[in-house]
Symmetry: C3
């Protein structure tokens, strides 16, 4: 009996060890389940940020047709020569960039004219707001005028950015591509 009891004791002791081991393992696995869940959420967040960072960048030349303007009122400039348009956010049919996501964008342009004694330049619009002008009076008897400007703008999704030609001003472009509008997303917000 004693031996038996002893055996039983040892059996109980073994079972106690098994249950202790099982408890420890379950605790480890449960903790890992929590850790893994936290990691999965963090990965998902990182992946979301990556997909929310769309690729948006464009560069468009004004025209191959020579002088644009003058006209009796401000006119949206339709840049028709697509040098690049990743994300298709610049719409050549309307001459308007539409922000595909909320974010901070960079826009820059160079305007060129070879019409003497006449104003040249452009105005950058953000929706209906004039962000900045850059103009010159091409008061050369012979020669060219060029102006450039650049802006960092915070845009809401769907906001429009475009260039307009001021009343009575002219610009010029041809296949050598001298009047150019470019922009890209710096980072989403």
């Amino acid at each position: 009996m004693k031996q038996d009891v002893g055996r039983d004791d040892s059996k109980i002791s073994v079972m106690t060890d098994v249950w202790a081991e099982l408890k420890e393992l379950r605790d480890m696995v449960t903790q890992q389940k929590i850790d893994l869940s936290i990691s999965k959420n963090k990965i998902e967040k990182l992946e979301k940020e990556r997909t929310e960072n769309p690729k948006v960048a464009f560069s468009v030349g004004l025209s191959n047709a020579g002088t644009v303007g003058p006209i009796p009122a401000d006119m949206t400039l339709r840049f028709s020569k697509v040098l690049s348009n990743v994300g298709q956010a610049y719409h050549t049919d309307r001459g308007v960039f539409l922000a595909p996501v909320r974010g901070v964008y960079y826009f820059r342009f160079t305007a060129f004219s070879n019409t003497a004694n006449r104003g040249m330049g452009a105005i950058l619009y953000h929706n209906s707001k004039k962000v900045g002008w850059i103009t010159n009076h091409n008061n050369h008897d012979v020669g060219y005028a060029t102006v450039s400007n650049g802006f960092v703008l915070e845009l809401e999704q769907g906001d429009a950015v475009y260039l307009a030609l001021p009343t009575n001003f002219v610009l010029y472009d041809d296949p050598t591509t001298r009047s150019v509008f470019s922009g890209f997303l710096i980072f989403p917000q």
Copy 2:
């Protein structure tokens, strides 16, 4: 007894299986603990890089007050019209951009003048070093002068970048925003 012994043998055998199973499970859990720890470190590194990639971009217009200068010594240009200033790294009170992190930045500016027969333009400073000039002599009887330049600079955290007006030069800006200083972080280092 034989049966008992048999039963004991089977019990020992069962217990051996349990311990083998427990050992295998513990090995799996231990390995997963290592794998999970490696994954957690990698996620932390990816998250750190994300937070170390701060959002820094600005665009500031010079003034609404008309002509700035001439003055008898180089002067820091305080661009007072904030078009955007994500990360608040451009300080309008001092006219200085202070790099919030070590990294590679892009800076560009357009300077405008409508004062005939006088020098115009600006010098870009990185701390006390003159990075680049861009100037013109507005030798038109009527008309405007505009100049632009742009630079990619490697900055240490806290480095200052600003534009200065050269001695005896002038610039002009008004609510149409023609003289503009812009910049953004391209990537941290």
Copy 3:
């Protein structure tokens, strides 16, 4: 005997519980192994994207030697003053930027001249294609001419981008750094 049987029953029941517990634990661990493997793949993908996003940005000044040109044929402009060249993609020996990865890049330049009554400016090349010109005729008796332009270009790995001086044109640069070529990777593709 009854007690023995009872004991045996309870032992069997205990063993059943142990095996049930073991099975449950093994299922949990196996599921975690799958989850961990998925997470590891996602992390690897995020890390790969990070390393595939190389740091490429440069800014180079033309020269400290004064006037460049005129020459009787278009000439690649070797910008010899390195202001920054992260990724070493601009090669000063050839005057050529070579794209280290397929992607979308931004390039901009400012060209300066102080030679009166002579053409000035530059042409941006993408491999053998002329992307855009920007020129002026410096028809001032006294004074300077500056032009700037900027382009967003989609490049294949190994594509070359460089500036050329048109036939009979001139540019000028000196230690004040007025003629500058800059570029950076916006995003890889």
